[in-house]
């Protein structure tokens, strides 16, 4: 069979080649259909996994964003609060600062309020159980209320104070408290009975949990917040960005545009590529050995964390920046050169702006990686229990993924929801970061 024969054959008779192609068509289309199906299955599977992940995190984490409050009629007389009359008067007149009231016995006032609410409770252990209805952090809330308005002294106030985590979780769940059994919580029968009584009188209220966004870590789940880790992450990433972005972009530009092609630049290139594949904990060890033990930078501080993470981020940004620079059409470089632009002007006026979207994409991938990194930070002590919100890059701090790890490790049940909530905050942080990058990219792309 030859193709030439088709020229002489009558048009109605298909040539053998045409017949051959026709015979194979069905098989080719079937293969294409199969391949599309595989693609759809793959995307479906990954979407299903993503949905599972998000649903499980959100359903577990949502309760952490609400907090249960208990209504108490708190006596704020100076005897219960254990303040001497002169001080109280002086503060009310304004001759002494309100901070003088800091040492008052607010816990006593709360306990008095609880005893008044449940007058039948007697005996040491029962009373101790009763006091546990209210969070140990409630006294600080009360202190703030009184210090903000000293005229409240001597009055009785109906206040909403945070409950303990176990009671809070029980109420938040919205279950019928009279039916609750002790198996589902660590509370005993009596506590549940008190809670049911309070619930029946609408003395519980579930509100948005501002504590979670205001506080640092705490041993008490109802007092534990994400603020310290969030601020720590922000500082760490700021350092990472400020160090890695300029250094990486400068290296990429030099290697791509200026460096001569020789054995040394080849060596540098190979090393950069290898650096991207180094396990992140190795960078942690390096940070510990070099920055902390040799340069004596502060332990557990965002400055060290940032330096270590930028070492880790550098190769990612360099590699993607070089790819972005390489993809700028050579005609643009020639056009600029042809007009008499110097090499530096060619790069900074034309090549870099066009490569910027790609560079930003690489940067955001690198920073997202850095944001989720735990291992190297363990080595430099950023795994510490941090209660105070870091005020600067040299304060002790922790970061979001480490906070997730710490809470996941805590025994209290309420930390489970905190863990998921922290993951949600981490994801939100990531989304905000990506959104900023996308916006920047759009701005640069418009210049095409």
């Amino acid at each position: 069979m030859s193709v030439e024969s088709s020229h002489t054959a009558a048009p109605a008779q298909p040539s053998p080649a045409t017949a051959h192609v026709k015979a194979g068509l069905a098989r080719r289309y079937a293969a294409e259909k199969r391949f599309r199906l595989y693609g759809i299955i793959a995307i479906g599977a990954s979407l299903a996994f993503l949905a599972m992940l998000l649903i499980s995190i959100v359903s577990k984490g949502l309760p952490a964003f609400s907090q249960t409050f208990i209504q108490l009629d708190v006596p704020l007389d100076i005897d219960t609060l254990d303040i001497d009359a002169e001080t109280a008067e002086a503060v009310q007149e304004g001759s002494l600062p309100a901070s003088e009231l800091r040492r008052a016995n607010y816990n006593g006032a709360i306990r008095e309020a609880l005893r008044e609410r449940f007058p039948d409770v007697s005996g040491r252990s029962d009373r101790r159980a009763l006091y546990k209805l209210v969070s140990t952090g409630a006294q600080y809330d009360l202190a703030r209320i009184v210090m903000d308005d000293p005229s409240l002294l001597g009055q009785r106030q109906t206040l909403w104070l945070p409950t303990d985590d176990e009671i809070g979780a029980l109420v938040k769940r919205g279950a019928d408290l009279t039916q609750a059994d002790t198996l589902s919580t660590r509370l005993d029968d009596k506590s549940i009975a008190w809670a049911a009584d309070l619930d029946a009188n609408n003395e519980f209220d579930v509100r948005f949990n501002t504590t979670f966004f205001k506080n640092g870590d705490s041993r008490e789940p109802e007092l534990a917040g994400i603020r310290a880790a969030l601020v720590g992450s922000a500082y760490t990433l700021l350092i990472t960005f400020l160090l890695s972005f300029p250094v990486a972009v400068a290296s990429a530009i030099y290697l791509e545009e200026f460096a001569p092609q020789n054995r040394w630049t080849d060596l540098v290139e190979v090393n950069i590529n290898n650096l991207a594949a180094v396990p992140s904990i190795v960078f942690g060890l390096l940070g510990l050995a070099v920055f902390i033990n040799f340069f004596h930078l502060p332990r557990s501080a965002p400055v060290v964390g940032g330096i270590v993470l930028s070492l880790m981020t550098l190769p990612t940004i360099i590699i993607s920046s070089r790819a972005a620079l390489k993809s700028v059409p050579p005609s643009i470089r020639e056009a600029a050169r042809g007009l008499g632009a110097s090499e530096l002007q060619v790069v900074f006026h034309h090549v870099l702006p066009l490569a910027m979207p790609g560079i930003l994409t690489g940067t955001i991938i690198g920073l997202a990686q850095a944001l989720g990194e735990t291992a190297p930070l363990l080595m430099i002590g950023m795994v510490a229990f941090i209660v105070d919100i870091p005020q600067g890059i040299t304060d002790s701090a922790t970061v979001l993924p480490v906070q997730v790890y710490l809470w996941a490790d805590s025994p209290e049940r309420a930390f489970t929801e905190k863990t998921s909530a922290a993951i949600m905050v981490l994801l939100a942080f990531l989304i905000v970061m990506n959104a900023v990058a996308v916006m920047l990219r759009k701005r640069f792309e418009r210049r095409w």
Partner: protein
């Protein structure tokens, strides 16, 4: 020197298909007149190597003031390479080596005193594919004057931009949208924008590397008109694949073949009375 006519080539083998070997043997020296009086640019015995491979063999050619020199020849014959050597655009190719003499107003192009940035400001270039910057039309034209500091203030810069666009025959089409991106123009407009950008720097020579190969006949005609007008003020060297274009726009034509300059003469004589057999074969469409 190649400024002497080589002995006339025998016409006996005219109808034989030339093979690579016979061709190489035949090109011994350039046929025709490679020099002009009072040249703007001069090239003498130029060899160009890309690594081991030699791309240009012993080419000598002058570009005179107020004339258009067309360079024609089959693909890969080295005409673009030669053109790019004239403003040292090949410097950015690490393996490229240029030997021989090239000069602009008697100044050695590859000499130690010559700055390539300054050279490119004096010898502008228009490329095969329109390559406007990813900036506005105004900024595209203003870029050259800006980096060289040619305009003292915004008013002067405006004047340079307007004047350049007018001379490139683009001003009337874009005067209402100077802020629009240069990449949004049509192919022919983009190429004229590139020409405007080149003349905004007030070069002395303009090199054009197949400026019309990506354009339709109407846009091509406009550019050719423009080249003819520009000739009044500049020396122009143009590489083209279209022999009609060479015949239309140029005063002198150089025919390159396999890295050698085969023939150079008045455009008229090259196309009506080619001296070399290879030139004749090429312009009559027998190969290339």
């Amino acid at each position: 020197m190649n400024d002497i006519l080589s002995p006339p080539v025998s016409r006996a083998g005219l109808h034989e298909e030339p093979t690579a070997n016979t061709v190489l043997q035949e090109i011994k020296a350039t046929v025709g007149t490679a020099t002009v009086e009072n040249p703007k640019m001069q090239a003498r015995n130029v060899d160009v190597h890309y690594g081991e491979k030699q791309a240009i063999f012993d080419v000598s050619l002058d570009i005179g003031n107020n004339e258009v020199v067309a360079m024609i020849g089959p693909s890969g014959c080295g005409k673009s390479t030669f053109l790019r050597c004239l403003n040292r655009m090949n410097d950015s190719i690490p393996s490229c080596r240029v030997s021989g003499e090239m000069s602009l107003d008697g100044e050695d192009l590859y000499g130690p005193d010559l700055d390539p940035v300054l050279l490119r400001a004096r010898v502008g270039m228009v490329f095969q594919k329109p390559n406007p910057f990813a900036k506005s039309i105004y900024d595209n034209v203003a870029y050259g004057p800006r980096i060289h500091g040619l305009a003292g203030n915004r008013g002067e810069l405006d004047e340079i931009v307007t004047e350049s666009l007018k001379r490139a025959g683009l001003f009337d089409e874009v005067k209402d949208r100077l802020d629009a991106p240069g990449t949004g123009l049509s192919g022919g407009q983009q190429q004229r924008l590139c020409i405007a950008r080149t003349i905004a720097v007030s070069p002395e020579v303009i090199l054009m590397d197949e400026p019309c190969s990506a354009l339709d006949p109407i846009a091509t005609a406009r550019i050719e008109e423009l080249i003819d007008e520009l000739r009044q003020n500049y020396a122009i060297a143009i590489v083209t694949h279209s022999m009609q274009q060479a015949a239309r726009v140029s005063q002198r034509t150089a025919y390159f073949h396999l890295g050698k300059l085969v023939e150079v003469n008045d455009t008229n004589s090259v196309f009506t009375n080619p001296q070399h057999e290879l030139t004749e074969n090429y312009i009559t469409g027998r190969f290339g």
